[in-house]
Amino acid sequence: MIDLTQLTIKEAGEQLKAKQVKATELTEAYLDRAQKFNKKLNAFITITEDIAKEQARKVDELIADNQQLSPLAGIPIGLKDNYLTNGIKTTAASKVLEDYIPVYDATAVTRLKDANVVFVGKTNHDAWAHGGSGENSDFGNTLNPYDVTRVPGGSSSGSAAALAADMCMAATGTDTGGSIRLPASFCNLVGLKPTYGRVSRYGIVAMASSLDSIGHLTKTVYDSALILNATAGHDEMDSTTSTEAVIDYTQDIERGVRGIKIGIPKEYFEGLDAKIKKVIMDAVKKLESLGAEIVDVSLPHTEYGVATYYIIQPSEVSSNLARYDGIRYGSGREAFGSEAKRRIILGTFTLSSGYYDAYYLKAMKVRRLIREDFTKTFEKVDCIIAPVSPTLPFKFGEKANDPLQMYLADIYTVNMNLAGVPSLAIPAGFIDGLPVGMQIIGPDFTEKQLYQIGFAHEQEAQLYKERPKI
């Protein structure tokens, strides 16, 4: 008997199609683990057992009826709890929305439902997606399955922990400044931050609207492409979604990296921890040996990213959170946690009369320079490889009382959100049993190529086969 919770989505899909496994069996196996390990890891805020069983039953019926189904049909996934789900409590991990039951679905949820995926539950995260560690959740910390004394990374903390501990086969996330890539990196997972506008933001609790990217975490690169196939595309409910054609992101994924020019940006490696640098450069060498060309590049405005980001993002946060007045839904403003209050105050200040030009307008100018760094670099190379995090997964409490230190954990991830470009975080290796990730960054709408490069590395490294001991 195969262990159903060790399969990739691709493998499970093939087994379901061949009628060797039933969707209900697959779902039961993941629900069992979700129930069992949630007590330890606190990865889910809500486990939707009845809904999952019903969705799986429906898939079994469709398969028995020999219907043509999506490769995601019957696949158990977790949804970050800032994705609105019709009839299922959606908290944004904040006490403000503790009892909120949406009356409609996010577009990404609708598209996953159309693909007949199975919802295991709603995952924990930093409240309103504010944070890099998961410690800002109003529903308690999520633990890292690789070392429960350390953070799983945030803000999509529960999605990463649930997936790394095999409580689901994929989980959705949101990435405003690294919130998918950082937890992916801390939990040995693949995390995609798509191009801004590739996946609809409709029905996802807004953090900073010009930066929010809707993506997901998976074990493998191929599985990530399968999910993007379902979620990507124009949506008339989100005016910032692109009409750029959606392609099959799994097609030619085995192309390899021969002739691909990979840029190594000096600003992301100078001063980087020597052990982390070695892990990433070893991975780069692997790609070089497979035929990629390695080129030194420079993105000179990199150092201004965190300051620019922490002006623009709280400004937009203060505006988006202004809607929570406790009149139409949710509790009143007194229910906001400390980090949300801190960002509302900071953003209200940077937008306020007399300070707007010095902060917000200045940041919007620097944002253009940061985007131009990327567009100019991509005239010379096909992609850039960079670290995701300056440190290994850190201990609980280590940065919790110093917001500036916590914000600086985002140093390698915020620039891609400011520029809008896609970035694929993939496992690069381990240091003392703790995962290290790296990111492959490309021009707008080049997710397909990022997958080809990530896949080439994954075939060699096979890091997705590693499992935490829990």
Binding site: V103, A307, A322, S352, R367, L369
Partner: protein, 95 residues
């Protein structure tokens, strides 16, 4: 650089505890100091960018479409009255 936290909290309609006011003042002034780095950059001739997609004037035809029912729209409201959201009085008569 210090933020007048009490004033900004009023603008943001947030009630802060005295401890939060004190903590935020200290933490946010460290963050504002960090922002000073941006002053090193001359951006005199740089156009601000607020929208990285380049999309402009995205709108749909002005035609009615199905939307939330009144019942659904009110479903999560803490207080409703005759099919409306109920709010606290904004103007009060001085006796």
């Amino acid at each position: 650089m210090k933020i007048d936290i009490a004033h900004v909290a009023k603008l943001a309609n947030l009630k802060l505890t005295p401890k939060e006011e004190k903590d935020f003042e200290k933490q946010l002034s460290a963050i504002l100091d960090y922002f000073k780095d941006l002053q090193k950059l001359n951006t005199e001739k740089v156009e601000p960018i607020s929208n990285i997609t380049g999309l402009q004037n995205v709108s749909r035809e002005d035609e009615p479409k199905p939307s939330l029912s009144q019942e659904d729209a009110l479903k999560n409201a803490p207080k409703i009255h005759n099919g409306f959201f109920e709010v606290d009085a904004i103007f009060q008569e001085n006796e």
